[in-house]
């Protein structure tokens, strides 16, 4: 398995773990119970704003540990990014954007059906996580099957 394939699998796992642990931590004890719409907007805005730096820092740490671990285990230097990597990245990002766009539309549908703001944000966050999984799964597919 190539370095890029291992990295895609690791990114999928870390996305699931980071988001899962973060939202489990945020939602333990049902903090949104009894909140008004304004309070819910404040809660979600804060939660998502904190998630962004948490995800970035966690992913940087995981990437460094993986790069060092892989170099030590395989004694191969980390391959530099070339034209094929960039093309795969672009195609995967396109798939990811389609997925997030679909999630955003679903969130708007939820709002138009008079569902709570909570549902809209849950759908948007899930779309974000799923789109990232789709991006990494696409990378894995293109690296394995060709482009």
């Amino acid at each position: 398995m190539s370095y890029q394939e291992k990295r895609s699998i690791l990114n999928m796992i870390s996305t699931l773990l980071i988001s899962g642990i973060y939202f489990w931590y945020i939602f333990r004890g049902d903090p949104t119970a009894g909140m008004s719409s304004d309070e819910l907007l404040y809660f979600w805005g804060k939660s998502i704003l904190i998630l962004i730096p948490v995800t970035i820092v966690a992913k940087i740490i995981i990437a460094i540990v993986f790069a060092v671990g892989n170099t030590v285990a395989t004694r191969e230097k980390i391959p530099s990014t070339d034209e094929r990597d960039k093309l795969i990245e672009l195609k995967s990002l396109r798939n990811s954007r389609y997925m997030f766009g679909l999630g955003f539309i679903l969130a708007m549908v939820a709002l138009s059906m008079n569902m709570s703001v909570n549902v809209m944000f849950v759908v948007i966050v899930l779309a974000g996580v799923v789109s990232e999984i789709v991006e990494n799964a696409s990378q894995l597919y293109f690296y394995r099957k060709g482009i």
Partner: protein
């Protein structure tokens, strides 16, 4: 994935060039070993620029390294 219409004989050319490794060729043309592997297996069609760089390494014209098979279009 659709079958690529571009084939190549890089593997044979490497062998004839003092058994040049994929890593060595990759370093000479500025791509990773994995990309050379993908090109040899027909899993990736290189850009025109990279194709010219590879042909330049073997001192051959482009058409002697890569070939296009139009019958695979259909």
């Amino acid at each position: 994935m659709a079958k690529h219409q571009i084939s190549n004989n890089i593997r044979k050319l490497r062998f004839n060039q003092d058994e040049m490794t994929q890593q060595q060729l990759g370093d000479m043309v500025g791509v990773s070993r994995q990309t050379i592997v993908a090109i040899e297996k027909g899993k990736y069609s290189p850009t025109l620029e990279l194709a010219f760089r590879i042909a330049h390494v073997f001192n051959l014209p482009l058409h002697e390294v890569f070939s296009y098979n139009p019958e695979d279009d259909h």
